[in-house]
């Protein structure tokens, strides 16, 4: 490890390591600092991605794929199951192996990675940010850099230290609990989403298969709802009823920022990416691929700014992100904000959708049905599915 780099990335998850990878490809010297002792551990994720997103960055490899999924099933409060037609396939990953692979790809381009390196402040001199202060294996060190990328997750503090407000509202942070259960009956090629007041008011409960007889079973609810009943409490109720004899292979907690993207994304020489920037699909809560896209754009922009010796160019990242996914996420956010349906409406939508012939039962058709109950989402559904 040196004392000075072009770029320091705080956080070694998929977004941070992808930022490092593309910055290194662009010729920048890069250091990634990860607070935990091992990249990829602990896993805090339901682990589902779509193939089309993944192959932008790497080839699907059986070593980090726990299950290949071709079905998507939504369970209404009355128990009726709606299965929309899906294009393409999805994967449930083994994130601990996947994350290490993303890190390896960054290392192959020359990025340095240090684990058990906790960044506790930005290094400032005369009001300018000149790197980070870190606790590395118990020792306090100051490392200089021209640019800092905060890819430090939902618990991000890098943005705050640079003067960017990153904490989501209580409506927009999803409080999540998940257990990986073994010894249960699961459909190995289907993602299940349970909707309704019993499972997750305003959110959903998921059962994502991880091979034979194993699944990630989790729930996410907004903090506003969690005031009355916690995520773990909803999850325990479901598991007690549905999988009373399951073995608990892992249990995790987590927070997912289901908001629009943090603004600004760049302040002087500090950039944010991934969960730290709320680069999560606010409707689904999915953030692996979108965080990697954010990381890629941030890394490429950083490298270009270094190469042209013009840090003003870091601002280009805002626009690149907005065009690539930011606008889309705003539409998803608007849809999320109004489709907090009561159970009887969810049941009615399920009944309506089940009238549609199987082959025409697309995600768009389901949202169209939802639209009859909330016409105000028309424009946003159109933006997402037609434009």
């Amino acid at each position: 490890m040196r004392t000075s780099y072009d770029l320091i990335v705080v956080g070694g998850g998929p977004s941070g390591c992808t930022a490092a990878r593309y910055a290194a490809v662009g010729g920048a010297s890069v250091l990634v600092l990860e607070k935990d002792r091992e990249i990829g551990i602990p896993v805090r994720c339901a682990e589902a991605v779509n193939q089309s997103g993944l192959i932008q960055f790497m080839q699907p490899d059986p070593k980090f794929i726990a299950a290949t999924v071709t079905k998507f099933k939504m369970v209404a409060p009355n128990g009726k199951v709606v299965q929309p037609v899906l294009e393409g396939v999805g994967y449930v990953l083994e994130r601990r192996i996947f994350d290490a692979e993303v890190a390896r790809l960054a290392a192959m381009e020359g990025a340095e990675i240090v684990t058990k390196a906790y960044v506790y402040d930005l290094l400032k001199s005369n009001g300018k940010i000149e790197g980070v202060k870190a606790l590395i294996k118990g020792e306090r060190v100051e490392i200089h850099s021209r640019i800092v990328i905060g890819a430090d997750g939902v618990e991000s503090r890098v943005g705050r230290w640079a003067g960017i407000t990153t904490n989501p509202s209580i409506q927009d942070l999803e409080s999540c609990a998940q257990m990986t259960l073994g010894g249960i009956e699961v459909e190995p090629d289907a993602l299940y989403f349970y909707l309704g007041q019993d499972y997750s008011p305003g959110g959903y409960l998921w059962v994502f298969p991880k091979g034979k007889n194993m699944a990630n079973v989790g729930v996410g609810i907004s903090v506003d709802v969690a005031k009355k009943k916690s995520a773990i409490s909803y999850l325990n109720d479901f598991i007690k009823k549905k999988y009373p004899h399951a073995a608990v292979i892992a249990q995790i907690a987590g927070g997912v920022p289901c908001a629009t993207t943090v603004k600004p994304l760049v302040k002087e020489n500090v950039m944010l990416s991934g969960d730290a920037a709320h680069q999560v699909n606010p409707l689904s809560g999915g953030g692996i691929i979108s965080g990697m896209i954010g990381g890629m754009l941030a890394g490429q922009t950083a490298a270009n700014a270094i190469k042209s010796n013009s840090l003003d160019r870091l601002q280009e990242y805002e626009d690149l992100w907005q065009k690539r996914l930011g606008n889309r996420h705003e539409s998803f956010y608007n849809i999320k904000s109004v489709i907090n349906f009561e159970d009887k409406i969810l049941n009615k939508i399920a009944d309506d959708v089940l009238q549609i012939p199987d082959e025409k039962r697309t995600m768009g058709a389901i949202l169209k049905s939802a639209m009859w109950n909330k016409p105000s989402i028309l424009l946003d559904v159109a933006k997402v599915y037609l434009i």
Partner: protein
């Protein structure tokens, strides 16, 4: 005051994310509340997926000693 039970904590960071005051310090396997910043707003209590953080309405002064 706000108190965290470290033995139950998963160190997931949901509380750090929601905290409007940047008043929680989270490392790999340790967590603490920065007393002088905490305003006892309780958002962390609601955000905690595992009900690990508790709010005790016995004074809003220093939360010192709450985390052990």
């Amino acid at each position: 005051m706000i108190s965290i039970t470290p033995d139950k904590c998963d160190f997931c960071g949901a509380c750090v994310g929601i905290c409007p005051e940047d008043a929680i310090e989270l490392m790999e396997a340790s967590i603490s509340i920065i007393d002088e910043r905490c305003t006892n707003c309780s958002k962390c209590v609601w955000a905690c997926p595992w009900e690990v953080i508790k709010f005790k309405r016995n004074g809003v002064g220093s939360a010192k000693g709450a985390i052990e």
